[in-house]
């Protein structure tokens, strides 16, 4: 009898170990799958108000209520053969862009807050950033295309037309310029672009946007008005200004 309990106790621990090993091995494969999938395409174009990708992944319950709510059939839920984490909403602007409804029905429909309900003005949405391929943009070939500029819902803010003056043997050019501080990434420009493959595309900002770094102190920006009073260092306030060389070298001396 005693012997029997001993064996069954040993069995019990053996079973426990087997269960733990099964859980661990299965769990590791599962973990790998999740990590791979979360990386599938961190740069998908998401509906307006989508939180940053990690928070969005955590919150999205994959219910498709945003897809239901979209009046333009812009949104789709990623299926297993899209290179986008499964079941999450996204859109391809060249097919159907976001038409930037003022009441943002997709955000209102989201039950989990994966689309941030704090977004109340669609112009503040940042779904992506339009980027121009100047080798294929018609305007950059000297044609007066400007279709993206005309179609842009935030014309003169998100896209402006810049004049490139004539040089010898070249056309003067009027070229579109995208401003990241206003571009919502709706993709209407990409949809409208007349080239065979769009020369203006909406991409995830992290793919294309650099960062200067805070240690650069610009004494002059492109917006600074040029006037008679212009002095080097304008745009930097007195408190920002680093100590002058002499002060700096004498710092700490009595």
């Amino acid at each position: 009898m005693n012997g029997q309990t001993k064996i069954s106790r040993r069995n019990f621990f053996a079973r426990l170990g087997q269960g733990a090993a099964l859980a661990a091995s299965g769990g590791l494969v599962w973990l790998y799958l999740l990590k791979q999938q979360a990386r599938a395409s961190p740069y998908a174009i998401r509906p307006p108000g989508a939180r940053d990708e990690a928070d969005f992944h955590a919150r999205c319950i994959k219910c498709g209520q945003c897809v239901d709510a979209c009046p333009y059939d812009t949104l789709a839920l990623a299926t297993a053969d899209d290179a986008i984490p499964i079941g999450t909403p996204w859109f391809a602007p060249r097919d159907v862009p976001c038409y930037m409804c003022a009441d943002i029905p997709c955000v209102a429909a989201c039950p989990t807050g994966a689309l941030d309900p704090a977004l109340d003005n669609i112009n503040d949405a940042r779904m992506g950033l339009a980027v121009i391929d100047i080798e294929n943009c018609l305007s950059w070939q000297g044609l007066r295309c400007e279709v993206c500029y005309r179609e842009c819902p935030l014309q003169e803010k998100a896209i402006t037309i810049e004049h490139h003056p004539r040089r010898v043997s070249k056309h003067a050019m009027f070229v579109p310029l995208v401003h990241s501080n206003a571009c919502t990434g709706c993709g209407i420009c990409e949809k409208a672009c007349p080239t065979e493959m769009a020369a203006i595309r909406v991409l995830h900002p992290e793919l294309v946007q650099g960062q200067i770094g805070e240690h650069y102190r610009l004494g002059w920006t492109i917006d600074t008005p040029i006037s008679q009073d212009f002095k080097a260092g304008d745009g930097v306030t007195e408190t920002d200004r680093p100590a002058t060389g002499l002060d700096y070298l004498n710092e700490g001396t009595p």
Partner: protein, 313 residues
């Protein structure tokens, strides 16, 4: 009386054991299939409501009928509903979802808590249709299990789901769930999710009987735990039972039909019972019925003396 006559087997109640015989008449068959037909009607009907709302824009009085899918939805644009297991996973990633989805999850938890939590599995979950088909084919073709697997594996999968949700920051089961792939793609457009569903079908058909729903699915395990005190249960009238075993032959979770336990509780008490009603319609003695837990008074079925001794003590 000839010696060649098979001796009549008697049940523990002294009555002869009779096999289940499928009625010849169509109405008789319909009667046997009544819960099956109701379950299929509900499963397909819910999917159709989702599909009609998103694809055809079904509305009643200007309100969308049923938008979303089985993960989270809204009835008439008013009543939120959500998969409590999915919401639990989201909360474990460290995010508190909006009140809407919390209310929805609470509502579904309350509904299934009352109905019998794994009622979800047999009456709503679309994968049930796939695995039932596999089980039916497997019976037809006489396919046997490739190996034995404990049905408690699902609780390990459940624990893993919760742990992985914490550590990966994503709802771990929702990212691989063949249930989600099936209803999402049926409602929002077909992709490759059917391959996962095909995998479940082949696993159930050739590898292991009730392999997915009965051994692995963590959602079923979640509802089995939630459903321990569910109200709607299968009542068991001990005096009429002859232990013929017909119920266990059709049951997708035969371990819940432990007849001693059933006699003790006067019902199928296990949370793993999905209230599919198969056992009820095949019982030749009319021993099993749907009933409410608080109606089931064990004292009305005084057969198991052991139980009453324990009760008196």
């Amino acid at each position: 009386m000839s010696l060649l006559d098979k001796p009549v087997r008697l049940g523990p109640n002294g009555r002869p054991v009779r096999p289940f015989v499928m009625p010849a008449s169509f109405t008789g068959k319909l009667n046997v299939w009544r819960y099956l037909l109701m379950r299929r009607g509900l499963q397909i009907g819910i999917l159709l409501l989702f599909l009609g709302t998103v694809r055809a824009g079904w509305e009643i009085a200007g309100r969308p009928v049923l938008s979303g899918n089985l993960s989270s939805s809204e009835l008439f644009g008013l009543v939120p509903m959500a998969d409590p297991f999915a919401v639990l996973q989201i909360m474990l990633t460290g995010n508190l979802p909006l009140r809407e989805v919390l209310l929805g999850a609470a509502l579904i938890l309350a509904i299934y808590g009352l109905l019998g939590a794994r009622t979800w599995c047999a009456w709503v979950c679309p994968v049930n249709m796939v695995t039932d088909l596999a089980a039916w084919l497997r019976r037809r073709l006489g396919i046997t299990d490739m190996f034995h697997l404990s049905r408690n594996i699902r609780y390990i999968v459940l624990a893993l789901t919760l742990i992985l949700s914490v550590f990966t920051g994503v709802a771990a089961f929702e990212w691989i769930s063949p249930i989600g792939m099936l209803h999402r793609e049926l409602i929002f457009g077909i992709g490759l999710g059917w391959t996962a569903v095909l995998g479940v079908f082949l696993f159930d058909l050739f590898v292991l009987r009730n392999g997915w729903c009965g051994h692995l699915c963590p959602l079923g395990a979640f509802y089995a735990i939630v459903g321990r005190l569910a109200q709607v249960r299968v009542r068991f009238d001990t005096p009429t039972c002859t232990h013929c075993g017909e119920c266990a032959r059709v049951c997708p979770e035969p371990q819940v039909l432990n007849l001693r336990d059933a006699a003790t509780h006067g019902m199928i008490a296990s949370g793993e019972c999905s209230n599919c009603g198969r056992c009820i319609t095949v019982c030749p003695e009319d021993t099993l019925h749907f009933d409410l837990r608080h109606h089931i008074d064990v004292a009305q079925h005084p057969v198991n003396p052991e139980h009453h001794q324990r009760r008196a003590a």
